[in-house]
Subunit: 245 residues, 2 copies
């Protein structure tokens, strides 16, 4: 088992120090089919480290599968994340490829490739979470993450499609405010809302290919660049270079 | 003179309230020639509001003209900014076009279009800052912004090219640590370093075409979308729609 790469040690440390408490927001850039860039803030939910591939930790966040960004990620899985950790004045830029993991019956499932040698593929070989046929159980993970969200956050996926036009801010008052954990919905309405939210909820999983770490909190400033040797078939090896900030 | 658009009033207010003190960092997304997205943190320096076009406030930030992003902005001026204001839980996503304003003798000057009816063009018609031939004096603005930076920040543009490889973090100890204000350099070395920094320093000017304002600090959450009617020749009119967050 390969060791965690040094950038991941640095990032794990940065997010755990008191100065960066609550700094779990990063920005994800995507490209649409007109080659126009888009970027928006996401809440980092977890790192996902394949048992047999610990050199390639994945970044896990979430979305509503009906958003334009989900479609952008599907048509061009190249993404870049900028994670500014204000407390320690560090920036981690993670470039890689993304996978959107919606409900099992969503058409996105058959529209995404799992590149050979990728961490996504390795997770499939692991079978570490007991999925059928030795596959990673993404649906189990999706439900687990869904349940870990606040009742208010869950309700956000039961709204009408994001960015659709409404007549007034007051329209929002007709939408569910909270949604219960799986297995805890009681009334018919609660069950219907929960079902709708779970149907629209998707994981966003980012597999890093390069990481650009800039430390502005140290003098002189430092910049370190990490690149995975995937192109040469050594997917779990990282090359590290020191760069001008 | 048209009034400031409502998104600008909201953004100006958001950045000025105590909860958002110091929240002057946003992320700018660009696309490279392979249609791969890139994103990094920038420090917002100022809004630039054309006298005769106050409906189109520009966002002003800075860069080193030798960075890959400067080239990306030149080859594809479509950019998007995500400005997360943590204190008030608001996000402003500003999509538009960018101009890079380097030293007057830099080749970038002849390689960028100034679209007719754009705020860039309007600034040129204004002559409000006394440039030759009724043009906005960008070089005066560039020097003014350069001088407003800290001595340490100024020194960052006198380093070797950003992202070039170095042998050790200690290489940085040979670089200038501070650079004086224009007109205040005394020794030959101080003058040489200042000249180098000023040569590499560039303004980044973003002209908004759409603004997506999400308010997560109010319950129910609100989302408001603003679009400039530029395509129809009404460049200073904004259409506002209320959307599902």
């Amino acid at each position: 088992m390969a060791a965690h790469p040094r950038w991941f040690q640095a990032l794990s440390k940065a997010v755990s120090i008191p100065e960066n408490k609550g700094k779990s927001v990063y920005q994800i850039a995507t490209v649409d089919t007109h080659n126009t860039p888009h970027v928006r803030s996401h809440i980092h939910r977890a790192f996902l480290v394949p048992n047999s591939y610990s050199a390639v930790p994945l970044l896990l966040t979430t979305t509503d599968v009906r958003t334009p960004k989900a479609t952008q990620m599907l048509s061009n899985p190249a993404v870049e994340v900028a994670w500014w950790l204000e407390g320690s004045q560090e920036q981690f830029r993670v470039a890689g490829r993304v996978a959107v993991v919606p409900a099992p019956d969503h058409p996105f499932h058959t529209m995404q490739d799992t590149p050979r040698g990728s961490a996504f593929a390795k997770l499939g070989e692991d079978g570490e979470q007991g999925g059928a046929g030795g596959k990673f159980d993404w649906e189990k993970k999706r439900r687990e993450v869904f349940d870990s969200m606040s009742a208010h956050m869950k309700a956000s996926w039961a709204r009408p499609p994001p960015a659709s036009e409404i007549a007034s801010y007051d329209d929002a008052k007709a939408w569910p405010e909270t949604i219960k954990n799986l297995g805890e919905a009681e009334t018919e309405d609660e069950k219907k809302d929960q079902e709708k939210a779970l149907k629209n909820f998707a994981l966003v999983v980012i597999e890093p290919l390069t990481v650009d770490w800039v430390q502005l909190g140290v003098i002189p400033n430092r910049r370190t660049f990490f690149k995975r040797l995937e192109a040469e078939g050594n997917g779990d090896e990282w090359v590290e270079t020191i760069q001008v900030p």
